[in-house]
Symmetry: C2
DNA sequence: GTTCACAATGACAACGTTGTCTCAAATTAC
DNA sequence: GTAATTTGAGACAACGTTGTCATTGTGAAC
């Protein structure tokens, strides 16, 4: 049914090893034979058997490790990775996991052994866990990390970094430009570097504009709707009332919006809200959320292409690359001057 | 590094074939040897090499075909399938595709050939495309379908069906019980059977309650936010104004909510809205959406287990199974009596 | 006590590929 | 014109598994 390398060889009238040489571009085959082989390949629609290759030792699949409740994020990531894998002839093995699990390292190693993947794409927060990284290094596993940071970290391993800090700075600056001074910050999970990075950007913008930081306006928590609701309720019943809230992601922002609504507070007239992520929610909520957009798919694709390069050619000359989220202004923010009270 | 079947054999002091027999539970190995082998397996943490198995002809991976813009749906599905695969020692190959593409059949066949998957999990709308099914049948490929329907279709192929019709009936009945009579229906993509099934349920409930069907209140379109906004605007500016809108999924409902807001219409006081899906949006929107919940993950898991059974033992005694979405009442609906006008 | 059936186990081939080695032909150097 | 070198291509083994067949031992049947 499916053509094998031997079928191709027979049709082309050469030994099957010669076909292998042509397929793998070893370059020691005469032009005429190459043409014959390629013609036969086309005619039979031959595709090398992945299992046989794998069995022989040539890794042809990569693993995607994630722990993230955010479906949009994961799916976008997955599409980007899958696209690049497909283009380069690799298979993808996905592995959702729980970063808080004690056995996460064993899980990952087990998955690598079982599926014989040749490399891993790591996403936050797993990409930011030193234990995991050192375990991978010890086993000489190739990987590429996607992580949050203003600069590439000084480790040798290749990565793709997302400059959340600068984006958060811009968001905060935008709120300040609208006249806001009492700007609250609702953080995300501590395990995620993105949360602290965004907070740094927020603080930097305040400092730059000589606005004194009010610690009561910074509230830590989780990247979740419920956490957003709870913290917003708490904030709005506090002594210092913010005129704007910078939620660390759109899900928290959804919670903020919800809590504000419950209390009859009008958004944005009485309270400006910004999120981070450009999720479908931010586009479908009323009012639309002002937020920051990350080109997740492109990021994932890029990371994958770096990984495959490393798998093929080793870690020499690997260039880490940065991405910069973009501010998307929508309807959940307005100048403080137009506030009703 | 990784233990092979021969390492286990050596440690247990038996031939590697005997180990193979124990691993595959062929049952022709004496108890004492079995114990020895299992002990060695544990000690070496042996895991069979998938590629070798595949190469030998034993299909050990299944493909997941989807074309759905809804990330939550896909991720849930994927988790369910992956969990079952993992439990049964199968690998998962994912394949997003475009159901509208002319080459979809070639794409799927190509993917099957490349990855040597032994079976497919098909989701709507691909699971409802006769062309695709007959192409798969022709190639004798095993598959399980997840689809919308009140009863299993009369084809031989195994499937898991979701009774959207009954769920839609219940939703409509619920609205009628609240006193609504002018209930609009916003359909989804025509290519999805779920859309027509839900419409059937809607119509049946109206008929049962002797409410005349007003065709102006049924508006076809797509499963998207934009389509929901557009059609709601159209409806609300029409001559017959609905007091409730049954949106075919949560995304459409999101659009409906948005459009209502824009026009200053209060939900649910002036307009009740129901969706379908129990998406995160429905839980995070304000007000929370009344909707119907499908146990996607369980459904996916079940479908996968059926598929693996078919792959192992052929299609005898396959029992298709049905699932019934459940009405989730939240805050976007209220009795028509309490309407403000 | 010999034959037979059957159960438990092992030896070996095969799956489709790539790495290594070998060999023949073509080219170069003298 | 002969020896040395390079080049192109094939033969074969190996990867880790499972299917097929052969072999051994054990107890039952005559």
């Amino acid at each position: 049914m499916k053509a094998t390398i031997k079928d191709v060889a027979k049709l082309a009238g050469v030994s099957f090893k010669t076909v292998s040489r042509v397929i793998n571009k070893e370059g020691t085959v005469g032009q005429d034979l190459q043409d014959k082989v390629m013609k036969a390949v086309k005619e039979l629609n031959y595709q090398p058997n992945l299992s046989a290759r794998l069995l022989r030792g040539t890794a042809s699949s990569i693993g995607f490790i994630y722990d993230n409740p955010n479906s949009n994020y994961v799916i976008d990531m997955q599409r980007g990775i899958l696209g690049e894998c497909h283009r380069q002839g690799y298979e993808l093995v996905i592995h959702p996991c729980d970063a808080k699990s004690k056995t996460i390292i064993d899980e990952i190693i087990g998955m690598v052994d079982r599926s014989r993947v040749g490399g891993l794409v790591l996403t936050p927060p797993v990409s930011e866990m030193p234990d995991v990284l050192s375990a991978l290094n010890k086993r000489k596993l190739k990987y590429v990390r996607i992580l949050s940071g203003a600069n590439p970290p000084d480790t040798i391993s290749p990565c793709v970094f997302i400059d959340d800090r600068t984006a958060a700075y811009k968001i905060t600056q935008y709120l300040i430009d609208l006249g806001h001074k009492a700007i609250a910050f609702l953080g995300g999970d501590e395990a995620h570097k993105s949360s602290t990075e965004r907070m740094e950007g927020y603080k930097a913008a305040l400092k730059e504009n000589k606005i004194t930081l009010d610690k009561k306006l910074i509230v830590g928590g989780e990247y979740s709707f419920e956490s957003g609701v709870k913290r917003t309720r708490q904030l709005l019943s506090g002594s210092t009332k913010p005129t704007a809230i910078f939620a660390c992601n759109d899900e928290i922002a959804a919670g903020t919006l919800f809590a504000a609504r419950i209390q009859g507070i009008e958004v944005p007239q009485q309270l400006s809200i910004v999120g981070f992520e450009d999720s479908p929610f931010s586009r479908q909520a009323w009012p639309n959320l002002t937020t920051a957009q990350q080109p997740i798919r492109t990021i994932a694709q890029h990371a994958t292409s770096i990984l495959i390069d490393v798998m093929r050619n080793g870690e020499k000359n690997v260039e880490s690359e940065g991405f910069y989220p973009e501010l998307i202004v929508r309807d959940s923010t307005c100048p403080v001057a137009s506030r009703k009270n």
